[in-house]
């Protein structure tokens, strides 16, 4: 990179301008990735944080895609799932977004109804948060911190969920939410009054229902066969995120924007190096005439692009992380390797592809032009 590094220094203005463009694109991409992850977490953390590896849905029509708002499972289904070979646990889980009230405070929450003795509530595995959560008894509710904050409630207070008054038994530390509403945990019995749908609504003496069955399985479990037998549709916990209606739309939109930004960055870098290479055609012809091989010149040009990209992307990623740190908690950003280093690597890779296509014209520059140039 003998010439490339000196060009970077000599044509400082042009390269600084291009670096600023790369920094800004990187900032946009990584910040958007962090925001996408943050919004996804606000939509689905109640699902993804479950200590289960699969979720079984029972949809009104067999061909319907799994969806939390439409799924409805009955007791015989989760009992049957519990008996399937390779299934270590099958816990019914009711999911219903409802209104919660305390004295003078109202908030939208998602009530998750669970059977007594389940391990689905944070803290129920002994690694709990305040030691008292982990189970939910009828007549009580366990709050997540955001729900407690929104309702200004603490242990011992009364919270009314969809008309049902429940006593706050505990507040867990795990901050979970579903479809952008904070989560509260109730017993499945109480959940029948709060969120059950259809004829099984409590009060009629019917069998309890839930929304889905949370499954913990081993490799031996034949989930497809069980689905056929029980009329359910089972997906992994990760795939179950798509069954949260707010997640699918948001995630698709934001991911599309990121993809466009990645493509735009490659095009911008490619356009810059196209112009740069054309403006250097005379120098390249001279270098070839002096004995510079095409391979040497390509390496030199790509090295220059790599320096520019790595520098710009590093600064842009740093700015994005700093912004995420400084922003108030209300902005849902999640800074992880997946939201910073992965898109940063993508930007560098695609930028190099764009630069590679542009500098490939080096191969077509005729050294004979060095004789004609003045």
């Amino acid at each position: 990179m003998f010439v490339a590094l000196r060009d970077l220094q000599h044509a400082r203005g042009r390269f600084v301008l291009m670096s600023v463009v790369i920094v800004l694109i990187t900032f946009l991409v990584t910040f958007l990735a962090s925001l996408t992850a943050g919004l996804a977490r606000e939509s689905t953390s109640a699902v993804t944080d479950l200590p289960a590896d699969h979720i079984a849905f029972s949809m009104p029509a067999e061909d319907d895609a799994p969806e939390f708002t439409a799924s409805r499972v009955e007791a015989d289904q989760w009992d049957a799932w519990a008996d399937v070979e390779g299934v270590e646990s099958a816990d019914p889980l009711g999911v219903a977004t409802t209104r919660a009230e305390t004295d003078g405070t109202t908030a939208s929450v998602t009530a998750l109804g669970v059977d007594e003795g389940t391990n689905l509530v944070p803290g129920s595995d002994g690694e709990g948060d305040d030691g008292e959560a982990g189970d939910v008894e009828p007549g009580t509710v366990v709050l997540t911190p955001e729900a407690a904050g929104a309702l200004d409630a603490q242990t011992g207070d009364i919270v009314t969920l969809g008309g049902t008054a429940l006593t706050v038994a505990a507040t867990v530390e795990a901050d979970q939410s579903f479809s952008h509403t904070p989560v509260v945990w109730t017993s499945l019995d109480d959940w029948q009054d709060i969120g059950a749908r259809g004829s099984a609504t409590a009060g009629g003496g019917a069998d309890p229902v839930a929304t889905v069955v949370a499954l913990t399985t081993t490799d031996d479990a034949d989930l497809a066969a069980a689905d056929d037998a029980l009329g359910t549709t089972t997906v992994t916990t990760s795939d179950a995120r798509s069954a949260v209606s707010s997640f699918a739309g948001e995630n698709t939109s934001l991911t599309t924007m990121q993809a466009f930004l990645l493509v735009i960055s490659a095009l911008v870098v490619g356009a810059f190096f196209t112009v740069w290479t054309i403006s250097r055609s005379g120098d390249i012809a001279v270098l070839k005439a002096l004995g510079g091989s095409t391979g040497y010149l390509l390496r030199d040009a790509l090295g220059q692009a790599a320096v520019l990209l790595v520098g710009g992307v590093a600064v842009g990623t740093g700015l994005s992380v700093a912004a995420a740190t400084l922003l108030p908690d209300a902005v849902p950003v999640v800074v992880t390797t997946a939201t910073t280093l992965v898109p940063a690597a993508g930007l560098i890779l695609l930028g190099l592809v764009g630069a590679g296509v542009s500098v490939a014209r080096i191969t077509r520059i005729d050294p004979h032009a060095a004789l004609a140039a003045r």
């Binding site: 010439v3 060009d7 005379g282 001279v286 270098l287 005439a289 002096l290 004995g291 004789l371």
Partner: protein, 234 residues
Amino acid sequence: MDLHLEHITLVYPDGDSTLTAVDDVDLTVPAGTTTALLGPSGAGKSSLLAVAAGLTQPSRGTVTIGADVVFTPDTSVADSTRVRLERIGMVFQSPQLLGSLTALEQLELHAHLRGKRPASVRERGMELLDAVGVADHAHKRPAQLSGGQRQRVAIARALVGRPEVLLVDEPTSALDHERGTQVVELITGLAREMAAATLLVSHDASTLATVDATVRMLDARLEESAPLAAVRPA
């Protein structure tokens, strides 16, 4: 080592027909001497130089350095490039210095192209810049040098790799008579000192007092029809 051009013919496609730019030219330039190639525009001087440099493949004929045939109609681009890097120095009509490199770095570049550390030729580079009279400007970029100084740096660049052959294309075209004469004198002196066979294309015979031989081209052929041009002893 001597430079031999034997039966060099260069034919370009020209619409539906062809154009013969160089027609069966034989020329030998002995090591340590400078031969000036004169002739009017369009005579084929630069085309012959391009063939001698391996920048253009001849349609027929061979270019030999010493006993090695280096360019033929079948020589690959990669081989031509390697020969230029290792055995040929070139001075262009305009200095063609790279704008981002200082005068000394223009010379160090040659080492880098050969895969060596640029610093390995720093001492020789300074000696050459001193020999061409621009050592005081070693750390200046081309934009900070005059036209004559740039041309001197270009001459030093051509010689830094100790080439066996030096090919020079109209080095005085942008210089006045006095400076043009000085540049030719510099080239012939250095070529003699470094034992380089030097072929110098020029349109201005008045600056060529110090060259060892002159040959004229007209209509793609050397005026002398002998296979080897007569060369005045050094």
